[in-house]
């Protein structure tokens, strides 16, 4: 039998409640359906045996009633049914003389090809063994296969094993059923990508970041986590499916960085529709993010789009859903323009001064991580600035005042150095 890279366990670790019936085949029961304690199907597959035939290898997986119904009705292949395992895992068991001799777990994406049914293996009419018993037990006739777009995204996320961000353009100039103007799609994707990246940079670098031009090293490190890629589209009117290029999971919370970034994007959209909630949300983001958001909203307004945004993780089962149309985009743009926010923050940065005007106290400072800060020295310490050397590293303490006045398009950021120290060992 094939040696598999796996996690060994001391038992099957599946909440099996009872046997329901044999799905395949009449000649030899290779695929048997059980019911889990939550009344959802758990399927057992025979896949291999030793040369003498005395050790059999099986794997079990959790599936949904909907997936099972789809397979029975010939709408998905057997391979899709297996790969769409709800928790992404296959629970293997080697059995000799009716006794389990080895239990182990692998990811459904790691199933060797020789253990997969052929990709074009769909259940044929009259091929199933106890279909009626299985259908009746799980009440499959009550399961609707008329999936809406959110269900479709969930289904795709499970089968592709990735988080999905759906940008669904319902209406607008150049938007048809299954077609869309290249220019409209391109503009919308670019503006959304900019917003996503800025929220990502806020997450990784901090909302108090300066103007960031990433170094090649930073690009290599950060880009995969703040970038997305298109992995599919749906004809409904026109839906683009995006996924993060890469995700890092927190071992303790089980939540990915990209889930937290998506959450921030959706919170910004959700809370910006009302002036009172926008006030508190505004200060949670850098001005760069707000600018990107405004760019996205302006395009929606100008192209008279109706956009639905959905996000789903197959790992945490979290979902975020929001909608924007040109009317709501216009209201949010007004809300942002009319916002009256004044916030103060204190933070420190290490780096080098690039320019200082000793008369006015104006400075340009570039931090060690290549962020640029401009502003003025506080009057009380301005005189000391004459002693600053451009070659030395300094730690500066910045008092940042963010002032967003009604009628002003962008927030005004005043960075004032309230302390500086030469960096010494």
């Amino acid at each position: 039998m094939i040696q598999l890279l796996s996690i060994q366990t001391d038992q099957l670790n599946l909440p099996i409640d009872k046997l329901v019936g044999t799905l395949l085949f009449a000649e030899f029961a290779t695929t048997v359906v059980y019911s889990g304690k939550d009344k959802n199907p758990i399927i057992k597959e025979w896949v291999d045996c030793s040369e003498k035939g005395d050790v059999d290898r099986y794997f079990y997986y959790k599936t949904s009633k909907k997936f099972l119904k789809k397979f029975i009705e010939g709408k998905i292949s057997h391979q899709d049914l297996i790969i769409s395992s709800l928790d992404g895992l296959l629970y293997f068991q080697d059995v000799k003389n009716s006794k389990a001799i080895k239990d182990f777990i692998i990811s459904s994406s790691q199933l060797p090809n020789s253990y997969k049914p052929s990709s074009d293996f769909f259940l044929q009419e009259d091929e199933g063994v106890e279909i009626k018993i299985i259908e009746d037990y799980f009440k499959l006739s009550e399961e609707s296969l008329d999936v809406d777009i959110v269900d479709k995204i969930k289904e795709l996320s499970y089968s592709k094993k990735n988080e999905t961000l759906n940008l669904h353009l319902h209406q607008g100039k150049g938007v048809g059923y299954g077609t869309i103007s290249t220019e409209i799609l391109g503009k919308t994707l670019i503006k959304f990508d900019r917003l996503y990246k800025d929220v990502g940079l806020d997450y990784f670098i901090g909302k108090n970041r300066g103007e960031v031009s990433l170094t090649p090293k930073q690009k290599d490190e950060l880009n995969p986590f703040i970038s997305t890629e298109v992995y599919g589209s749906l004809a409904a009117s026109y839906s683009v499916l995006l996924r993060p290029l890469n995700s890092k999971y927190n071992l303790f919370t089980g939540i990915s960085d990209t889930e937290l970034i998506a959450k921030k994007v959706f919170e910004l959209i959700s809370k910006s529709s009302k002036p009172e909630s926008l006030q508190s949300e505004y200060v949670q983001h850098s001005d760069f993010t707000i600018k990107s958001y405004k760019g996205f909203l302006k395009d929606i307004y100008e192209m008279q789009l109706d956009v639905e945004l959905n996000w789903f993780s197959p790992y945490t089962q979290k979902e975020f859903n929001e909608g924007l149309d040109y009317r709501s985009a216009n209201i949010i743009l007004d809300n942002i323009d009319n916002l009256n926010v004044s916030a103060e923050e204190n933070f420190s940065k290490k780096g080098k001064f690039r320019a200082i005007n000793c008369d006015t106290g104006h400075f340009i400072f570039v931090s060690t991580d290549e962020e640029q800060f401009t502003g003025y020295f506080d009057k009380q310490i301005r005189e000391g600035s004459v002693q600053i050397t451009f070659l030395l590293i300094y730690e500066i303490r910045i008092l940042r005042k963010t002032i967003k006045e009604p009628g002003r398009v962008d927030a005004k950021i005043n960075d004032v150095i309230i302390g500086f120290f030469e960096d010494s060992k």
């Binding site: 030899f28 290779t30 291999d48 035939g53 059995v95 049914p117 052929s118 009259d126």
Partner: protein
């Protein structure tokens, strides 16, 4: 006459044997290269002891009406489970069932039928390997 697995079959009181009858018929079965291999004429409940023994038919043997149908079906099954040859057989054997061997039902659309063997029957001696289908 008693069946080979009479004790086990007795557990299924309501099983409908009326569609089964004793017949003379030419038939084909998946087997391993050596016709005397102990796995060759075992019902599926014995081939896979983990399968819940909840249906009487699991004590019957599978046969096909023609070699082509036996081959087509095994090809179909192994497109689903590549290693099923290791369990069901790598060859096809042909034999003539007599009415003293057991009772069988009519073949289904796939040409498959089931036989409940009578006690004391030795099918190994009645079948000959006719074709290799896998290594």
């Amino acid at each position: 006459m008693n069946f080979k697995y009479q004790k086990e079959i007795d557990a299924f009181k309501g099983f409908d044997f009326s569609v089964f009858s004793a017949n003379e018929r030419d038939c084909f079965r998946w087997v391993f290269a050596d016709i005397k291999d102990h796995r060759n004429f075992k019902p599926k409940f014995l081939l896979d002891p983990t399968v819940p023994r909840d249906k009487c038919i699991g004590w019957a043997l599978s046969f096909f009406e023609t070699k082509e149908k036996a081959l087509t079906r095994l090809n179909r099954l192994t497109r689903n489970k590549e290693f099923l040859f290791k369990k069901l057989g790598t060859h096809i054997a042909n034999g003539q069932l007599s009415k003293y061997d057991g009772i069988s039902n009519n073949a289904d659309k796939l040409g498959h039928f089931s036989l409940f063997e009578y006690k004391g029957v030795d099918l190994m001696s009645k079948f000959t390997v006719v074709e290799q289908i896998a290594n």
